[in-house]
Amino acid sequence: MAPGLLWLTALMIVPCLLIFVLAFYERGIYGGIDWNAPTLGNFRRAADYLYVSIFLDSARIAAITTAIALLIGYPAAFAISRAPARWQTSLLFLAILPFWTNYLIRTYAWIVLLNPVGLINSALIGIGATIAPLPLLYNEFAVILGLVYSYTPFVVLAIYSSLQRLDPSYAEASRDLGASALTTFLRITLPLTAAGVAAGAVFVFVLSIGNFVTPDLLGGGKLQMIGNLIYDQFLTARDWPFGATLSGLLIALMMLALAFQAMAARHAGGGHA
């Protein structure tokens, strides 16, 4: 345990404290730090309706993405865990292989598929399913699609690792006792894999809310997410103090949400150690 905690302390906590301390200072005129005047002004700025609404909107998009990724990923992981044992590792590899190519060219490929004169619209018009091209690109739909695409394999990996050890005899016993397939799934399988579902959900949610490239490319820059906002504060506005403030608040809120979820889980009897 020690090497891991040490690594995170030395290479995350200490360096990040160097940045978070900036939240209490102002941006210098040319983009440096004005060390002369400690201030809480950045927190007042962050409370502006604009930034709150960007945060809420990002959380909404991340939540929708998470739900869809779970709906796709869970049954897929379940199916892999039910495949012949010798195929399982290969099936996992196949799920993740597409993501060993570069993000940018995968996204360009989606643009080719989704754009108004793209492959999907041409096909739909070709078979007469629609007359005018559907607006599939440069909107929220495209951003969510892109995020779901990117992070579904992570859900599969997380859920598979908790499903894999699941003893099929539990489910068989349940079925033998007359429970329906649905009841068996809800009462036996799902609770036993809750840890995997939770891990997968956390991956998708945190990676989505922090993503800043997908909204730019598939959203056509028309959606501002918290990831973009923070990125822009650090690099475009060169306002590190405000960027540090927004990041600190984001982390604090996510930690609160996680602590709440962990507490709820323990109360629900899923507690451990």
């Binding site: 040319y30 983009g31 056509g220 028309k222 822009d232 690099l235 506005a237 306002d239």
Partner: protein, 350 residues
């Protein structure tokens, strides 16, 4: 080996392995530039001419290299290629070194106008590498009336609604709004920001997307029929489809300049000046125009370019004196906070 020593052993092995991979290299000049912005054989040719090694790093955007050198206190690079507002900011932050013209004979290759740029008159801390305008790039075959004003972009006609893109880089996005209203491209006054914001939010509803990397590709595919574009990038579209045209709106443009900046932390001032001198030779100036399709402030280079090229890409023939009529984007200093909030408001608007 005991249980507890495994992580330590892995750690040590990994560190020594990676240390091996990154063994210290001989003293060289470190350049950071956009990929493809210099001839591929620049390092070999420079080495042959001067005996100095070049280590060429690449950056994707001005913002990233700026963030990187700020975080490292200016260490790590000798020379950067950045756009002029960033060159100005580097100088304001005390990260840029003065340029010694006596060590750069090829400075004489530049147009006289290239010595009068407002962000750095006399090229004291930066040397212009390319320059040009920002305007409208469009498909003449897909648009009823040829655009002539920034308002043709901001209030697109019915036939091109949803087929228009604007640059997503904050300064140029706002510049379109400022120019349409006859304001300075460096406006930071709140009432003007609000006015332009309202206009750009309205425009957002008629946009296909914000795009500063593939807009010319969208014109070629026909996804878009009118885009806000840098002149050089419009040329990439023209190269694929001659129906694509470029126009500077009647309200004017900004003058963008990509420049070469020497970092104060550089320990090789002589080598750095030799490098700039080498870049400014006529051959390299010509290469930029013919391969990047940007205009060069390098007179000797521009004059060596095949005239047929200037005919195919008319925006390349804009005279330096005409370029200088346009205002340059400047570092906004204190005004940056209000400016960037306005941009966030536009980006977050539904």
């Amino acid at each position: 080996m005991t249980f507890k020593t495994i992580p330590a052993a892995v750690f040590a092995a990994a560190l020594s392995f990676t240390a091996m991979l990154t063994a210290a290299q001989a003293e060289t000049l470190v350049i950071s530039n956009w990929d493809g912005y210099m001839p591929k054989d620049m390092a070999e040719k420079f080495k042959a001419a001067t005996g100095i090694d070049l280590e060429i790093a690449v950056h994707a955007t001005n913002e990233e290299i700026m963030g990187k050198v700020t975080a490292s206190g200016g260490e790590g690079f000798d020379v950067l290629f950045v756009s002029s507002p960033f060159a100005e900011a580097l100088n304001n932050l005390g990260l840029a070194a003065p340029i010694d013209h006596s060590k750069i004979p090829n400075m004489a290759n530049l147009y006289p106008e290239a010595m009068q740029l407002k962000h750095d008159p006399g090229n004291t801390f930066s040397v212009p590498y390319t320059w040009g305008t920002t305007g409208l790039c469009y498909r003449s075959d897909l648009i009823k009336t040829a655009p002539s004003s920034w308002n043709d972009l901001l209030k697109p006609a019915e036939d091109i609604k949803g087929k228009v893109t604007m640059l997503s880089t904050d300064r140029w996005l706002m510049a379109a709004g400022f120019l349409a209203n006859g304001m300075s491209v460096n406006t930071t006054e709140q009432a003007s920001l609000d006015k332009v914001r309202d206009q750009l939010v309205e425009t957002k509803r008629a946009l296909l997307s914000y795009d500063d990397t593939t807009f010319y590709s969208k014109l070629v595919s026909g996804e878009a029929s009118l885009v806000q574009a840098w002149d050089g990038w419009c040329n990439y579209g023209i190269a694929e489809k001659p129906e694509i045209k470029y126009v500077i709106p009647k309200e004017g443009s900004d003058l963008w300049v990509d420049s070469i900046v020497v970092m104060k932390a550089s320990k090789n001032p002589d080598a750095v000046h030799k490098f700039i001198d080498f870049v400014l030779n006529a051959e390299n100036g010509k290469w930029v125009v013919e391969n990047i399709m940007y205009k060069s402030p390098n007179k000797a280079g521009m004059e060596a370019v095949d005239k047929a090229m200037l005919e195919k890409y008319p925006n390349m023939a804009i005279a330096p004196a005409d370029l200088l009529k346009y205002e340059q984007l400047r570092d906004l200093g204190e005004g940056m906070k209000a400016f960037s909030k306005t941009v966030s408001e536009i980006m977050a608007a539904k």
